[in-house]
């Protein structure tokens, strides 16, 4: 008897909680919803593939040298990137282009442009080879990284890439990057009348007659690379 009498206030409190639950949820209460399952250390290890560009955090054990990298590269990479990273067709050129960034036609490559050596390891490991990503061992990725850095004359032929050596490699273009967006970098005024003299306007460039535009009606165009 006394137990059922004691239940009443408990039920009343539960009802109050239920009413409160909705606005609390909407307001983003810190009480977790509890959906999903905890990620185990083993599960995290399988997907935790990133290696941080500036300090190499996340690089795994393992190592690879330039010579082994040349072999893996010839086998896995050269068909698109060329034997010496010169790039086949429109596939990316990986080496060269030094001093070209202020030229009329810059050639940004690993050597001439990339600010961090570890980013190269991370990218090969996450995305290459293009048709079969995530199939290379950590050692092979280290070796490829060493080979491509050597192609760019950034490391010597006896360089061995590992989680200690790679973050210490200083890339030639590292200091050319700023990581703060300076925009807005234009300050146009919304002039409404007589903003320019129409008689001075002339066409300095037109797409007419350039034969670069694929057709925009009918079936897809297969216009070949120029």
């Amino acid at each position: 008897m006394s137990s059922s009498a004691n239940l009443l206030p408990v039920m009343f409190a539960a009802a109050l909680l239920a009413v409160n639950a909705v606005p609390a949820l909407a307001a983003g209460a810190h009480k977790p919803f509890g959906y999903g399952t905890p990620a185990t250390a083993e599960q995290i290890k399988g997907w935790d593939i990133d290696a941080r560009g500036d300090d190499g955090k996340g690089l795994p054990p393992g190592k690879g040298d330039v010579n082994h990298g040349a072999e893996v590269f010839a086998d896995q990479c050269a068909s698109c990137h060329g034997t010496f990273g010169e790039g086949e067709g429109r596939y990316p050129k990986l080496a060269g282009g030094n001093g070209s960034l202020t030229a009329d036609r810059p050639e940004p490559t690993v050597g001439s442009y990339w600010p961090f050596a570890v980013t190269l390891w991370d990218y090969i490991n996450r995305a290459m080879p293009f048709p079969t990503p995530r199939t290379l061992s950590a050692d092979d990725v280290y070796a490829l990284t060493a080979y491509i850095l050597n192609l760019n004359n950034i490391v010597p032929a006896d360089f061995v890439a590992d989680k200690e050596s790679l973050p210490k490699v200083k890339m030639p273009n590292h200091d050319s990057f700023s990581w703060q967006d300076p925009r807005p970098d234009t300050t146009m005024k919304p002039c409404m009348t007589k903003c320019v003299d129409p008689s001075t306007l002339k066409i300095v460039s037109t797409a007419e007659g350039k034969d670069l535009t694929p057709r925009t009606t009918g079936p897809l165009d297969d216009m070949q690379p120029k």
Binding site: D48, R52, P106, P198
Partner: protein, 434 residues
């Protein structure tokens, strides 16, 4: 009796054109007897070239296809040319490439899902939703793995936002190259996105005090990954599973993608499978080698995420010319990653004089906004331009002003004013004025 027989014969003859419709045997027998009548009708009835009043059209005198004839609807077959298109000479293949939305044929702020522009880094993966997982870990109190069902249980939010690839217009830095609205501006699209706020998920796992950056990563072969500052993630980012009311398309990240409103499209990672919380950015390939802006002095800008105010006239345009002098409604789209579009100005004389266009409701934050302005074309040469102003007061620049600061090799973030040349025959060309 003869009238209904005739009608049945017409229906049957129309139906015979469709392989999917079975003609009832009873009707086939009747058709033989009605052949003479049907022939008489075809000689006196509507033909294609006079199918206007006072004549009637075939589709008005027959029975149409039934429901579920197309269980998943399709546009009219006449719209077959309204498709995403690519520039085959631009990339080595189609797997790491882009396609452009046909803005010249679209009429609102919402891009149909089938026409939303595409950008892949390792092709379009065909993800099985029941095997897809989102892992959230790193500097969090409770690392978790979520199934799609788990994600759909969280409180849901819908918002309309554009996505623009920062390379939209990137081929025009050096000069006018592509005579097409689709190819100069088609890497922008807009949809209603439904999902869960990223802040809700981060609250769920609990952030440690050093948490300052997120790595967001896709399940595609490129494992596309970008770093994002925590403030933006907590402000307005969404983890979405639906686009314009239906499940995301595979092209747009099925079953799960990130939406980072108003920022360059690349950070809205598709096929989202992992979020790692850290204390510093990762400097991935896509935020160092790519998606950085090379300046004329050889320096480069990184982490230039914002899409600045931009606009373009979508009618007329090279694909949709004018059909003779007279009154027209110039139409266009404007957008900004900085909130709402405040004003759009339109010039028909190459930027000498401008008039304020009318903004069409709804004018939403970080969404495409439609504008229109009437224009009586006298048949003389003209230069059409539009100029957006956003709610921060930022004015869309001319290409000359942009080039003065950024040169011609920065590829990304060309938000300059587009000029369309109108020739006396009404044809339209992509030009740049000096």
């Amino acid at each position: 009796m003869s009238f209904s027989l005739l009608r049945d014969a017409r229906k049957a003859s129309l139906a015979a054109g469709s392989e999917r419709v079975q003609i009832p045997r009873r009707l086939l027998l009747k058709m033989a007897g009605a052949a003479a009548g049907a022939a008489a009708l075809s000689s006196s009835g509507a033909r294609a070239d006079d199918a206007v009043p006072p004549a009637d059209n075939e589709w008005s005198q027959s029975l149409g296809a039934g429901v579920v004839d197309q269980p998943y609807g399709k546009p009219s077959s006449e719209q077959a040319g309204v498709i995403r298109r690519n520039v085959p000479w631009l990339t080595a293949g189609t797997e790491s490439s882009i396609s452009f939305s046909p803005l010249q044929s679209l009429h609102g702020i919402i891009t149909p899902n089938s026409l939303f522009f595409e950008r892949y880094h390792a092709g379009r993966p065909d993800v099985e939703a029941d095997k897809h997982r989102l892992m959230i870990h790193g500097l969090v109190d409770r690392p978790i793995i979520l199934t799609m069902k788990d994600i759909m249980r969280f409180p849901s939010t819908s918002r309309i936002h554009f996505i623009e690839c920062p390379a939209n217009g990137g081929m025009e830095w050096r000069g006018a190259q592509l005579n097409s609205l689709q190819f100069t501006h088609g890497m922008v699209s807009c949809a209603e996105w439904t999902g869960v706020k990223l802040s809700t998920l981060l609250e769920e796992v609990g952030l440690k005090k050093d948490a300052k950056w997120l790595l967001v990563e896709g399940a595609d072969g490129a494992h596309m990954a970008r770093s994002l500052p925590l403030d933006k993630c907590l402000d307005d980012c969404l983890v979405v599973y639906a686009q314009n009311g239906e499940a995301l398309r595979p092209e747009q990240g099925y079953p799960l993608r990130l939406i980072v409103p108003g920022w360059e499209g690349n950070v809205s990672v598709k096929w989202l499978r992992r979020i790692k919380v850290g204390d510093k950015p990762w400097y991935t390939r896509e935020e160092t080698s790519k998606y950085t802006d090379l300046m004329p002095d050889g320096k480069s800008r990184g982490f230039t995420w914002l899409i600045d105010a931009k606009s373009v006239i979508t009618f007329p345009c090279p694909e949709v010319p004018l059909s003779g002098p007279g009154l027209y409604e110039i139409r266009g789209l404007a957008w900004t990653g900085n909130g709402r579009i405040k004003e759009v100005h339109v010039s028909t004389d190459g930027g000498a004089n401008w008039r304020q266009a009318e903004l069409k409701e709804p004018v939403l934050s970080k969404a495409l906004t439609r504008f229109t302005i009437p224009w009586r074309w006298d048949g003389k040469p003209a230069f059409l331009e539009s100029r957006a102003v956003d709610e921060t007061g930022f004015v869309q620049p001319t290409l000359a002003a942009l080039r003065k600061v950024r040169g011609t090799n920065s590829i990304y973030h060309n938000n300059s004013i587009q000029t369309w040349q109108v020739k006396p025959d009404g044809s339209i060309y992509d030009v740049q004025l000096g």
